[in-house]
């Protein structure tokens, strides 16, 4: 079944007439422009109504053209927007005041709870008046009357966790009491809770206690507000922006009642807290209620003697104030000024006595203030005008540069503000009283701001030098860190970050950063202090990475790698390496051969690679492998191919556990071989020939270590092709033979993305690919004719295919075109400088008859199979198979041969016998044959075509 084909002519014939394609406006892939008009009104919870409308700008879009560009949804949205302002006017005004950029309390909560802890035993002293207690001559119906003889419970010896649980229980019982309409009990719970805030007996825990208890107060405030709200919701719910006139009398009376009750609470602290908690309810009573109450409560706080308790009460008031009436800035400021006014109390006798009693150091005590002061300052500084901040700063200055205040100011104010005055601040820090508050903490805070905003250009160097002096004085961590265990967390880190940042912006980066790193190493190494500071050290690395994207500079800092060595915990170490690699891959644009980079990166990659063990997750492995591959791809030694190869050898040894890396290495080496070939313009010298053989050898010994059979197969094939291209015939032979050799090992099913799937389609693809390559592979002189083709077919024959699968026959069918192509005088394609069989055999009849014999065997096999399929009643498969064989015969067979053309006709009939053929395809096939028959040497097809009957469905 062979003929002499003229590929050129066929190609010419196959070329369609050049029909100019007009590129109109329409393209299915042209992006449809979606304009998103969002009318967002702030991000206040519950009241966000955003609508989006999309209109397509593609003129072809029927939807938009029909609707004149405005879709009904956006029309509605537009309408509602125009309606809205009247309704939501006041709300919008509010939202202007607090935006999403205000860091909410909720984000501070956790931090405070985690930071202020204690191992001391705590106690809760609850004095719950019993409901039917004896009343004395005072207010009868006021349940709050505290002269009720009630049960007094004192819970002693609670651990911190117990304490938190107890408070949570109280929170629950508050909700329950409220739900079961026991308002009085609810109020009692709240009062008792807020009373706990006057107890400073375990002072280290106070900030956390504040957090826990104000949660309850918030709950209470919400409950009261919601209840009064629902009282007004008949017949329809109040709008968000309701006024006093919308509130009915019953609701007002209830609300008033709450305020009268609270006003008669005996103790100051509960009265303040509870009234602050329901501050929002003033909206039901009168317009000016909130703005009158806030200053009053602010002033009342002056009555609290304990400065810490007072500071936290102020923080709570500011918190409620920011939530309810953020536009009332005055009372925020007032609160701060009062705080400043009473600040001298901190060093007063009562406080000192208390500290002595509780054995708390002054610095530790002072840090207890920071959450409260930070919060108040944050509220004040939020969108505050510059002059106000300046005033605040001046006021702090007047107070003798109190370190604690200074610290809070630097933390709360906008980084730009602080950065712009960095020199001032440094001056203030220097003037600060060292006692009580460690200076490096102040530098830490300053650093925090400077890390976000740049100080003026001219001052940078001075700042750097000044700050450096202080930091070098920070003693070794054993002294500092053990002592301020709880504050160390951010400090050193921020200080370091600052210097890295400063050095960078002062353009003297490398040397300074190196010094900083050296210093950190010096500080952290003794006593393995670094073990406690991994997160901070990691941030330092991150910071450095954001600045140093030039890795040659980075790695030339001699302290960088020793710094990396401080990460001794495996997980952290890998994490750090990973982040470095990510930056490298992202920012390293040029290929590199810099030995500094290579060494360091190899070290880093090796660290990552060595972290892989039996327990490593697949995903983890994959991502590590990706990073390493990224690195390998960046390495190039230019024309120094041998160096590159030896790098690959080294990399293979280093990364032997990560298969994807090995695959990449093989590809790199193959590419290297091809690159050599390109450089030598196809003809290798003795030296380069040896080199490419070395490359082939590299691949050949690397491939077997891969576990994935399909990567092995495809790499064998690919490497074989590369070897052929480089005229390494015996190497190519070995690759292809190896591929054939492992074919029987291909499992019937493989797992693809976690799912078990049949390997058959992959295998068929591979074999087809392989067959296509075999066309150009010259036969080995010592083996028989078509040694590889026969070998492959034998393997296919012996392979245990899936039951009920035609895969084997399909391979046979696809082997026929190969054989047909092999029998041509000139081959369809060839490899430069490699003689294929066409030249080797020169159309030797013996060779051709070998091919013919093989074809006959194959066709025989296929026909047997077709017969078997007919028996099994699987006629659909039979039809499909017959049709594909018909196709092959038509395309590659010489139909002048009567036997063959008879076979074709039979096949045609066979596949139409059961009507499984698609008529469309049949018609097109017939047309093709007719078209072919018009070619001058193809007239024999006319006969055939007449014998091919198109079976109509009827």
């Amino acid at each position: 079944c062979s003929n002499w084909r003229n590929y050129e002519a066929e190609l010419q014939r196959c070329r369609p007439e050049a029909a100019p394609v007009e590129f109109g406006d329409y393209h299915p892939l042209k992006p449809i422009m979606v304009t998103d008009t969002k009318s967002r009104r702030g991000a206040r919870k519950g009241s966000t109504s955003s609508s989006s409308s999309s209109s397509s700008s593609a003129p072809a879009d029927p939807l938009s053209s029909m609707l004149d560009g405005t879709d009904p949804l956006s029309m509605f949205a537009a309408a509602s927007v125009s309606e809205a302002p009247a309704m939501t006017h006041s709300r919008e005004k509010e939202e202007e005041v607090v935006g999403p950029d205000f860091e909410p309390w909720s984000s501070k909560r956790g931090e405070i709870l985690a930071r202020f802890t204690t191992t001391e035993k705590l106690s809760i002293n609850l004095f719950m008046g019993s409901d039917k207690g004896k009343t004395c001559g005072c207010i009868l119906d006021l349940p709050v009357c505290m002269c009720v003889q009630g049960s007094q419970r004192e819970l002693l010896n609670l651990s911190q966790q117990d304490y938190a649980n107890r408070i949570e229980e109280l929170n629950q019982s508050l909700k329950e009491a409220w739900a079961s309409d026991q308002k009085v009990k609810a109020l009692k719970i709240v009062i008792q809770c807020s009373k706990l805030l006057s107890d400073t007996s375990v002072i280290q825990f106070y900030p956390s206690k504040f957090v826990l208890i104000t949660d309850i107060l918030d709950t209470f405030g919400r409950l009261v507000y919601d209840r009064i709200w629902t009282m007004c919701s008949d017949p329809r719910p109040l709008p968000d922006s309701f006024t006093v006139d919308d509130v009915n009398d019953t609701a007002k009376e209830t609300c008033l009642n709450w305020f009268f009750k609270i006003a008669s609470i005996r103790e100051l602290l509960p009265r303040l807290y509870v009234e602050a908690a329901i501050l929002k309810c003033n909206r039901f009573l009168n317009k000016t209620g909130i703005q009158e109450t806030l200053p009053r409560l602010t002033a009342m706080i002056r009555g609290i003697g304990d400065p810490l308790v007072a500071a936290y009460t102020r923080a709570y008031l500011c918190r409620v104030g920011m939530e309810v009436a953020p536009h009332l800035k005055d009372s925020l400021n007032r609160n701060f000024f009062d705080l400043l006014g009473t600040f001298r109390q901190v060093s007063g006798e009562s406080v000192q006595n208390q500290l002595v009693q509780q054995r708390v150091e002054v610095p530790e005590y002072l840090t207890l203030y920071s959450p409260a002061i930070n919060w108040i300052l944050q509220c004040i500084a939020y969108r505050a005008p510059e002059p106000l901040l300046t005033e605040m700063m001046e006021r702090c200055k007047k107070l003798g540069n109190n370190a604690l205040l200074l610290n809070s100011v630097m933390r709360a104010f906008r980084p730009e503000f602080v950065a712009a005055r960095a020199t001032d601040f440094i001056g203030m820090i220097k003037d600060c009283d060292e006692a009580g508050f460690p200076k490096h903490l102040l530098f830490g805070s300053l650093g925090r701001s400077l890390a976000c905003a740049d100080p003026p250009e001219s001052e940078r160097l001075t700042i750097l030098n000044e700050a450096w002096k202080v930091v070098t004085k920070v003693r070794s961590p054993q002294v500092e860190y053990r002592c301020y265990d709880y504050i160390c967390d951010h400090t050193f880190y921020y200080v370091s970050i600052t210097f890295i940042h400063l050095s960078f912006i002062s353009r003297s980066q490398k040397r300074e950063v190196n010094t900083v790193l050296a210093d950190i190493i010096k500080h952290m190494t003794p006593d393995r202090a670094f073990e406690d500071a991994y997160p901070q050290l990691q941030s330092v690395i991150r910071k450095i990475l954001t600045y140093f994207q030039d890795f040659s500079v980075l790695f030339s800092m001699e302290r960088f790698l020793p710094f990396l060595d401080m990460f001794q915990k495996d997980s952290v170490r890998v994490e750090v390496c990973r982040s470095i690699m990510e930056v490298f891959i992202k920012h390293q644009v040029e290929l590199t051969r810099d030995p500094v980079i290579l060494n360091a990166m190899l070290h880093i990659c090796k660290t990552m690679h060595d972290s892989v063990n039996a327990l490593t997750l697949e995903d983890e492995k994959r991502s590590l492998a990706l990073l390493i591959i990224g690195f390998i791809r960046m390495v190039s030694f230019g024309r120094d191919f041998e160096q590159q190869l030896s790098f690959c050898v080294e990399a293979r040894a280093t990364f032997c556990n990560l298969e994807p890396v090995l695959v990449q290495l093989i590809h790199t080496v193959n590419q290297l071989a091809m690159e050599t070939c390109r450089v030598m313009r196809g003809s290798h010298s003795r030296k380069t020939a040896a080199f490419v053989r070395a490359c082939a050898a590299y691949s050949f010994i690397t491939i077997p270590s891969l576990s994935s059979i399909f990567s092995r197969l495809s790499l064998y094939l690919l490497s074989g092709q590369v070897a052929l291209a480089n005229q390494c015939l015996s190497q190519a032979d070995a690759f292809l033979k190896a591929a054939v050799g492992i074919l029987p090992d291909v499992p019937r099913s493989i797992s693809v993305e976690g799912k078990l799937r049949s390997s058959e389609s992959f295998l068929l693809d591979f074999i087809n690919n392989f067959l296509a390559t075999l066309l150009v592979v010259p036969d080995h002189p010592e083996h028989g004719v078509l040694y590889l083709v026969r070998g492959l077919l034998n393997m296919v024959q012996d392979y245990t295919w899936e039951d009920n699968s035609d895969a084997k026959v399909r391979v046979y069918v696809s082997a026929l075109p190969l054989l047909a192509a092999m029998s041509q005088e000139t081959y369809l394609y060839s490899i430069p400088k490699v003689d294929s069989n066409e030249t080797l055999y020169g159309g030797d009849p013996k060779f051709l008859s070998e091919i013919n014999k093989l074809c006959e065997t194959l066709i025989g096999q296929i026909l047997d199979n077709l017969k078997a399929l007919g028996r099994d009643e699987s006629t659909r498969r039979q039809g499909a198979l017959a049709f594909s064989l018909f196709g092959v015969l038509l395309a590659h067979g010489d139909l002048r041969n009567n036997k063959l053309s008879q076979l074709a006709v039979n096949l045609w009939n066979l596949c139409h016998k059961h009507g499984y053929c698609e008529t469309g395809i049949s018609v097109r096939t017939l047309e093709y044959i007719k078209h072919q028959a018009q070619q001058h040497d193809m007239t024999h097809l006319t006969d055939t075509v007449q014998r091919l009957a198109l079976q109509s469905r009827t």
Binding site: C138, D141, S198, E253, F260, R302, G303, I304, D306, Q345
Partner: protein, 297 residues
């Protein structure tokens, strides 16, 4: 068979003035129709006086409590004997709040020895077998606003060991200086008592500063009169060792019902005072007393 009888006033705050109309509904809820012998509603305003056991002997106090003074009284029949249908029945009513003769409606006041109370009482008479039902409902009377304008007169005070009276050993007293002022002692009852107190200095730490609201009730009777001062409420305005030299606000809301405009009649008097109580850490108690005159505007 359950039946509930209730009086619902129209005004949510139940506050009425002389000359106004007390309006509301009697609410009857029963599961099945209810037979009754008539429903009546009465309104009464009474001043109850009681002599304290301090002023007179216990027995006398018990028996000789002064006769109540009736301020207003009226009675109407809401429904004649008949049946109330099952379900919810509302019977509206109105009482004009007008006194007879030259009697004055004093403001509602709940005290210890003097009580001024206005009540509505609804009675439903029923057959012999079933109990009569009755229901009381207090409503609140506010007296007519005072015509004359209240001019606040601030009162300044200074407390030092030397200004104190009633001390046993002046020598053992620590040194202190407390200054302050009340914005007014003639106060409008609906507005808080305000002022400021400043601890200028004190040798001993302050433990607490409190405002004690005191009522002074005087009952006149045949044998003379009894005058008693009792605490209404005690409000803490400072806790702990407060910052010296810083003004601490004095702020107290007058509780409803338990205060009324200062009242002086032939039979009884109700007056108010406020004490500023300073408790020192060594439990010394310093009190400064200010008589108040409350009024309604």
């Amino acid at each position: 068979m359950s039946v509930t009888l209730d009086i619902r006033l129209k005004r949510a705050n139940k506050v009425y003035h002389e000359g106004e109309v007390v309006a509301g509904v009697i609410l009857l809820v029963c599961k099945e129709a209810l037979q009754h012998h008539g429903i009546s509603l009465s309104m009464e305003g009474l001043v109850n006086l009681q002599l304290s056991s301090k002023s007179v002997g216990v027995f006398e106090a018990f028996y000789n409590s002064v006769k109540p003074i009736q301020l207003i009284s009226s009675n109407i029949e809401v429904a004649k004997a008949g049946k109330v249908p099952a379900g919810k029945t509302e019977i509206p009513f109105e009482f004009p709040l007008i006194t007879k003769g030259n009697k004055v409606l004093y403001e509602t006041y709940h005290g210890v020895f003097v009580n001024i109370q206005y009540t509505l009482r609804c009675d439903m008479k029923r057959s012999l077998l079933a109990k009569d039902l009755s229901r009381n409902c207090e409503f609140i009377v506010h007296c007519q606003p005072q015509k004359a304008k209240v001019v606040p007169t601030p009162v300044n005070f200074t407390i030092t060991p030397d200004t104190l009276q009633n001390i046993r050993e002046r020598s053992s007293l620590p040194k202190f200086l407390i200054r302050g002022h009340l914005d007014a002692t003639n106060c409008v009852i609906s507005q808080p008592l305000t002022g400021e107190v400043v601890v200028e200095n004190s040798d001993v730490a302050i433990k607490s500063i409190e405002l004690q609201l005191v009522r002074v009730e005087t009952c006149g009777c045949a044998e003379g009169y009894a005058r008693d001062a009792t605490e209404i409420q005690n409000i803490q305005i400072a806790e702990g060792d407060v910052c010296h030299g810083l003004a601490i606000p004095i702020y107290m809301v007058f509780p409803r019902l338990f205060t009324c405009p200062t009242l002086e009649t032939t039979n009884f008097k109700v007056e108010f005072e406020v004490n500023i109580v300073i408790v020192l850490h060594d439990d010394h108690l310093i009190t400064e007393n200010f008589p108040l005159k409350l009024c309604r505007v």
